[in-house]
Amino acid sequence: MPSVMLDGVTKRFAADAVAVDDLSLEIADGEFMILVGSSGCGKTTALRMIAGLEKPTSGTIQIGDRIVNEVSARDRDIAMVFQNYALYPHMTVARNLGYPLRQRRVARSDVNRRVSEVAEMLGLAELLKRRPGQLSGGQRQRVAMGRALVREPEVFLLDEPLSNLDAKLRVEMRAALKRLHGRLGVTTVYVTHDQVEAMTLGDRIAVLSDGKLQQLGAPQDVYDHPANVFVAGFIGSPPMNLLRGRVRDGSATAGDLVVPAPGVSDRDVFVGVRPESLRPATNGMPSLGFEVAVVEPLGDEVIVHGFVGAELLGVSQERDDAALVAADGHRAEAVACLPPRDRPAEGSVIRLGVEPEEVHLFDADTGLAIRG
């Protein structure tokens, strides 16, 4: 299994439409790499360039030790699962599965053997004679996976393969995908906008925004140490609360929240606190007043929407520039995830605390993390 390397890859569709901007990424042999970002961030374009469906404007793409910029899609030895599956409607499941092999003039007996192996592995054996139109969404999805796997490609590319499935099936297929990758160990590039998929599936995730790589790392690292405000606001659900504040004399202040910031020079900052880091305050803990507006009990936890007495928060995920939503005076929306036993009453004002090491500081000018 080869690695995949993108070196300074840029894709420009028109003079002012840059889809992917100087992306450099090394995907190790056998790695499960996730490209995650909101729609229009360039993740699908990046995948299509690896597939050979789009040509980079500049930069090189390397699969194994071969630079593939000029290699056509069919000679790259890759397989791809499309978001809408792209099953050939006029062929049966068996013919769909065998198609990539037949195109490569594999002997008929070998085609049949591989098709039945893959069908067995994905639970499609009963469906081989059906046409795509006679299958459910989940079955089609498995056929699409099977068609990609049947050739034993060197690189496996998936473009939001689970986004058309219902929630229950999505969870099942997510686990199945992870098992499959564990078993086959194929180098995989997986594009998604769903951060749960990103967190659960990837060996590493690459967060993209506006065509640029924002952060690359293991999912837990990205969650624990977001590199900038965009990543902080994007990874994690509900998203991190980001409050405008400032650092003076080694402590950061945002509204009535004061946390120690040793070694940080005086400047304006964003103070980031994850909803799940907030707990009912105990003595000596940094804390802030929280006016409860809406309580959403989920069973295992309670999501509390409300307001804090700080200036502004929240990164707009829709906006690629990670622009912060302008403050509404000195009252800003915030979210906390609390254990059910701490469920507050709607309309009450409570004090929520946070451990100092769970507070993230970002430079207000650059948006970059000050300490992780």
């Binding site: 050979g52 469906l53 069919r74 809408n84 792209a86 409607p89 006029h90 198609y99 795509p132 068609r147």
Partner: protein, 295 residues
């Protein structure tokens, strides 16, 4: 005078605006459109029925006035007489060759050109396509003489090859197929590319099998056009052995005397393959439409 409604609806239960029409008595067993469509269909049928009637009459009955709508005697012999009056079998084969070759040519060449216009990016594509569309507006009479000269220089005058060659591809066919190809999901073609299919392979293995409705439509239109074509065969064909049906039928029609009953019998026979082709293609239409319903 007031008409008593079949079903009286009490005033205090006014029907909701979106309620379905009441079922049972008083409801027509067909759509209201049929009241319009059925008479129109009947009018369309009149010439065909008239052709059938005349083809069964004697020459005297056919030319009598007032016309005999119901012939007093039936003359099935008209058919064999028409068949033997001119080399009908030969004409049939010529027409069939002309139609089949132009249908095959159109399906193949229009597909190739249409796919290029639909999916391959090349310099000047849009301009070329507009030029192609513009040729649709040029009537055949205008290019008749240049076409004849080209065919003459190729030495194909009075041959089936000369008859067929200028009609192997049509701007209309290219336009129609291009429009259809553009409606097919591009992901299918991308998937096929990744699966190792060449451009031509994509056209023949993916695009064309999914375009059967469009191909059937183009095929039937071209077949009809070639089968009924009169002007071009008249110009290019000189010897009777190369005559098509339409030319052959005209031989039954003299300048001073026409055997209407034989002409109608011949015409009726000449239309049988057309009807067969249409019925065949119609089955394809229905199958293809049901088939494209699959996502």
């Amino acid at each position: 005078m007031s008409v008593q409604p079949a079903v009286s609806v009490p005033e205090r239960f006014p029907r909701l605006p979106d309620a379905p029409a009441p079922r049972g008595r008083g409801r027509l067993p067909f759509s209201g459109w049929h009241l319009v469509l059925a008479p129109v269909a009947a009018i369309m049928l009149v010439p065909l029925v008239w052709m059938l009637i005349v083809s069964l009459e004697s020459q005297q009955q056919a030319t009598s006035f007032p016309p005999q709508l119901i012939p007093s005697s039936v003359h099935l012999g008209n058919y064999s007489a028409a068949w033997n009056a001119v080399p009908f079998g030969r004409f049939f084969i010529n027409s069939l060759l002309y139609s089949a070759a132009t249908v095959a040519g159109n399906l193949l060449f229009c597909s190739l050109a249409a796919y290029a216009f639909a999916r391959i990016r090349f310099f000047g594509r849009e301009v070329l396509f507009v030029v192609l569309l513009a040729t649709l507006m040029v009537p055949f009479q205008v290019i008749l003489i240049p076409t004849f000269l080209i065919v003459k220089n190729l030495g194909l005058v009075d041959t089936l090859g000369g008859l067929i060659m200028p009609n192997l591809c049509s701007a209309f066919g290219i336009f129609m197929l291009r429009q259809f190809f553009r409606t097919l999901p591009i992901e299918l073609e991308e998937a096929a590319r990744i699966d190792g299919t060449s451009r031509l392979g994509i056209l023949f293995k993916i695009v064309l099998p999914l375009s059967l409705p469009a191909l059937a439509t183009l095929g039937i239109i071209q077949f009809m056009w070639s089968w009924n074509d009169f002007l071009w065969p008249l110009i290019i064909i000189q010897s009777q052995t190369h005559d098509t049906l339409q030319l052959g039928l005209s031989q039954l029609q003299g300048a001073h005397f026409t055997q209407w009953n034989l002409l109608m019998a011949g015409t009726l026979m000449s239309q049988i393959p057309m009807l067969a082709a249409f019925l065949l293609a119609q089955r394809w239409f229905i199958r293809s439409v049901a088939f494209t319903g699959i996502k």
